[in-house]
Symmetry: C2
């Protein structure tokens, strides 16, 4: 059973994922992303993954058989496990609980060689629908407070499988980063009675120096204080705190802007490793006037070294206005 | 002039270090640590670094000439610059200030091939004295609120030069991580009227499952909620909030335990990349009953991927009790 432990000074939680148990020597040579060879995410190998929890596109119902266009399965080496109780307890001054949660892999396409950047927008629509379906389903489990939805692309960004996939992790506590965003945006709301993200959108459209692309419903910007060159945020133009509340008609607009955003990034820096993460309201939360869901896209271009670890400060060698100009002019 | 910018939602500061200006194509191939070839940190090449601000060991005063045992110079490609005013200002809802600060390189030894782990304790004493001398000197500049003292070892941990060195960055604001530690430990102090670090030390000595090594003055543990396998903290056993207040007689004890700690790590995982960071009270702060200075040592063994970026949560495949056992039994 994995364990969640809390740093007593910072309140930072960590997951001791012993199911992934490693000995020190396992770290001596960094693993490479599996290239070639057997792929557990490919059609025909459905039996090697845990049983699917969602699939799209199979003409007749035949779970865990080929014919799917998209498939969601539990992670075979989960950071958290779905069965059990939280059993919160202390160990002297420390706090821990069982590592209860869900860890799922969303296999985005049956095509082993397809890259997210090259997927057609209607395929990306499908992926965004699957995020919503899984968020809704996992949200029914009252033990879970939040679902992290994210994608790691490229070995340097933490991907261990080549086949295009994203991940979902349902957590029994609110992640610190989301707590900070909720608190920061609430502080602003109390002062101004406006959503800070809505204000950012208005200012970015007015200033027009950090806009990468936009359509009627969405806006991609390089944020004012980015941690990394080419960091981008994709935001809905109309206020909404929860991704799951997105209306059906917006999925195409989101897929279009996301697809364009990733293509622009790939044209600037071919094959760049990256992570993207959905930031949305906690599960089952009432609509919030102060919080605004969005995606954050982080290319893996700079090192996290002692300075960043120790300070929580980031050093970025390219101003976002310069990144935005490159991204805008590349297409 | 570099620029400091604040994320308006999280209050997280970032440094736009344009002096290190890069174009997108500069990122396509990751730079390798310079191996062989010209080393600006070697004796004889003093003229290629900015003029030194401190040196030890030269028999006769001859700055910027060979003969030194340890040398501190301003970083040639600084993240922050020392001349100028902060000029805090707004840009609509955003906040920024000039990137005023100091960025120094501490050249630990004239020997290009020496590794920190193999340095004799009396050399490490010298390094720790130099940290104190620079902290005291930089603390005289009232524009600076904090000095980050850290070391990056190995390319994966962000080191761009092979010659053994550490770094100091003087900052005009308190880093978020230190603010969180100060706040977290103050909350505990208000509730318990005890220093949380002192309580941790007592519990760790009593439990004796996460101790790596100790001497009369210092203790090395794997923390209860570590971000990474083999993360270690080195703490003074007696309460003290500021590194610069360490009494002269403790320097040898610190060098001894630090040297032993790093040797144990190297025996467990040969040539592991790592960062270490000094956590100490803000410059010129009165002694604090709630805060306790210490070093944090972070081996670079796991990837920071989408999950960690998005959540601020870390997944660690090895419990600290297991790391501690390996580290303890290896010598």
């Amino acid at each position: 059973m994995p364990e969640l432990r809390k740093d007593p000074i910072l309140g930072r939680w960590i997951i001791i994922a012993t199911e992934r148990g490693k000995r020190p020597t396992d770290f001596i040579i960094e693993k490479n992303t599996s290239k070639g060879g057997f792929c557990p995410l490919c059609p025909g190998n459905e039996g090697t993954t845990p049983a699917e929890v969602l699939s799209y596109g199979r003409p007749t119902p035949a779970p865990n058989k080929p014919g799917w266009e998209l498939r969601v399965v539990p992670n075979k080496y989960p950071a958290l496990v779905i069965e059990g109780d939280l059993n919160k307890e202390g160990e002297g001054l420390y706090d821990k609980m069982n590592g209860i949660g869900a860890h799922e892999v969303l296999i985005e396409t049956p095509d082993h060689n397809a890259s997210f950047t090259d997927l057609p927008p209607n395929k990306i629509v499908q992926i965004f629908w699957a995020f919503r379906d899984r968020l809704v389903d996992l949200g029914r489990d009252s033990r879970f407070k939040y679902v992290m939805v994210f994608k790691n692309y490229g070995q340097a960004a933490g991907a261990s499988l080549e086949h295009s996939h994203s991940q979902l992790v349902a957590l029994p506590i609110l992640p610190r980063m989301i707590v900070s965003e909720l608190e920061g945006s609430l502080t602003y709301y109390k002062y101004k009675e406006r959503c800070i993200f809505c204000d950012i959108i208005r200012q970015e459209i007015r200033d027009d120096v950090r806009i990468v692309c936009q359509n009627d419903h969405f806006l991609t910007i390089t944020p004012y204080a980015p941690r990394s060159p080419f960091e981008m945020w994709v935001l809905p133009k109309n206020h909404s705190s929860a991704y799951v509340d997105m209306d059906d008609s917006s999925f195409h607009a989101l897929a279009n802007i996301f697809s364009e955003t990733m293509k622009r990034l790939a044209l600037c820096i071919p094959n760049v490793p990256y992570n993207f993460v959905l930031h949305t309201a906690p599960l089952r939360a009432e609509p919030m006037k102060h919080f605004h869901w969005h995606f954050e896209i982080m290319p893996k271009l700079t090192q996290i070294a002692g300075f960043e670890w120790g300070s929580g400060f980031y050093i970025n060698p390219i101003p976002p206005e310069v990144s935005a100009r490159y991204l805008k002019e590349v297409m």
